[in-house]
Amino acid sequence: MTRDVAIIGQGMTKFQEHWDRGVRELAAEAITEALQDATISHEQVQALFVGSMGRFGGQEHIGALVADYTGLTPIPATRVEAGCACGALAMRSAFLAVLSGLYDIVVACGVEKMTDLTDSGDLISALGAASDQEWELQAGLTFPAVYALMARAHMAKYGTTKEQLAMVSAKNHKNAVNNPKAHFRREFTIQQILQAKMVCAPLGLLDCSPVSDGAAAIVIADSEIAETHECPVWIRGSGHASDTIALQDRPTITNIPAAQVAARKAYEYAEISPDEVDVAEIHDNFTIGELMGLEDLGFVPEGQGGIATEAGETQIEGGKLPVNTSGGLKARGNPIGATGIAQAIEIMLQLRDNAGKRQVEDVEVGLTHSIGGSGATAIVTLLSSKRR
């Protein structure tokens, strides 16, 4: 593969309850901002990939909808979906499109409007669509319960504690205070997190990412165009793997094998090793997700995600590898389709030295880790300010 591909622009809405806006307005805002950041006109965009689960409103055909309302027609517009990894899949699809040589400038957008679903039963069903409908959801296993099982298994096998889970949440909330686009910009103490209302033991309310609305978009271009830009962020590696949809069919539930496969593929493609990664956005839809991610991505030894977090290794201040400087899914918010793109945007800001008070020093390589369902999809992306 000789064609190099970079992200040349980014834009996102604030992640919050957007009572007065729907999918079309949110996506249009994010894409418009991204095109402006990339100094690219609408006419120059050649294809659009939109990541969105869409189940929260019933609107399908979202690719066309977004192209329509953003003024991008008649370019090809495709909606992609992979549970909670929609956004990352949109980014990968755009990457592949440019890599193929058929397109030079492609927009990847993630968007989700979740707050039209106000009945908790409907919300649980919609969220559960990322797991196995027949063998998990209809059997009574809600999505938080799936991750609660993984958390319990991890705690039983490795001695991970509830306090260590809470530390993930506390750290991410603290980081989000400095992220103007974050849903929740307030800190929580470990005590508050431990005392929060139980959702599905051992996961409490503050272990679970929130329901948010929002959109995020990036402009992806080939090297010729990227080199004319000041700060292109190169997509050095992209790994995508699948696994069993149902948790019970996996050989292990204390880690996400698909993430390990995707990570390996990304590292190999990029010829980058885990210890060269300076900053990472890890999929913390539930706090246990960040701990397992640290292990699956090869940042810490197996089972040591909790210990590493407790030792402060993932903090911005004095951390070996700052994780979720944006606030993560927990505090930045989790409009499902938009999350994977928002992760990439945070890494971009870090690489461009644009992360304000969240800035990590000397960042050259960043990683995003996005999981669909309980691990049936994993997409790992390596980004760098250096082309090779």
Partner: protein, 349 residues
Amino acid sequence: MQVGIVGYGVYIPKFRIKVHEIARVWNEDGETMAKGLGVSEVSVPDLDEDTTTIAVEAARNAIKQSGIDPRKIGALYVGSESHPYAVNPTASTVAEAISAGPGDFTCADLEFACKAGTAGIQMCMGMVAAGQIEYGVAIGSDCAQGRPGDALEYSASAGACALILGQKGIIAEIEGTYSYSTDTPDFFRREGENFPSHGSRFTGKPAYFRHVLNGATGLMTKLGLTVEDFDYACFHSPNGKFPIIAANTLKIPFEKVEPSLVVRAIGNTYSASAMLSMARLLDICEPDQRILMVAYGSGAGSDAFSLKTTDLLLEKRDQVPKVDDYVNNKVYIDYAIYAKHRGKILDMT
């Protein structure tokens, strides 16, 4: 033309169920629920009480306090979301019970979620000011229902407040009113349904707060008043938190709102909520003080009023039981008795 409140009366049924007790049934943590809602217990009507009977109690108190001849009442309106009949007026039953009418007398039932009662105030204001009637009665009365296990079950309660409006013997002048109304479906109940549906978090910022805050600021602009001109404020209280947040946002000091928070002890009395809160303020305030009242009704709209008390308030208000008298007259029941009173027990035979 000065129009004002000539007399007011309230009624709150004596039964109470604690939020902790409701929580026990649904396997929730009572402490968390009570703290989160800012409500500790809610009032429950007796087996033979309903919106009509409690409206009558409140109206009787108002008549007695005002000292007027009920035959001089020209109009009577009952606002509620729990009228006992879909078709058959509550108002005419209440009217007969207090000897209003039958001649040269109009009455009707009103609906607009929790601001049906205050809508009646606005109607009576106009009729009195126009000289069409001598006295008008506006009543907010509800025996609210919450779906079993739903969040609203913890706050829905029962209560009534009746205001007599006129031009003679005013104890609180109504300086003006301002309403803010939009099509916002935050809370609704279809014909035939037992329990309402609601939009959860949608009932907050885009519903309650949008309309209450616009109502308050609109009123102040209309009357050339600022927050500092008011001695007290009261707001529709779906729980013990929203009115406090509304006051905070408007920069009204907590001390000016706190005495109105009857909701903490009896829950959300729906159409009576804002009016009962105001009644409590009238129970304790001094003459020549200004009160802001903002009612809110889902669907959605707000009615805001500015009231100025007179010396007559002190002469009249001790004649009938006050809000606190009803609040403190209570008997606790458990969920089983509560369910029986509220008709929530199914006949399975």
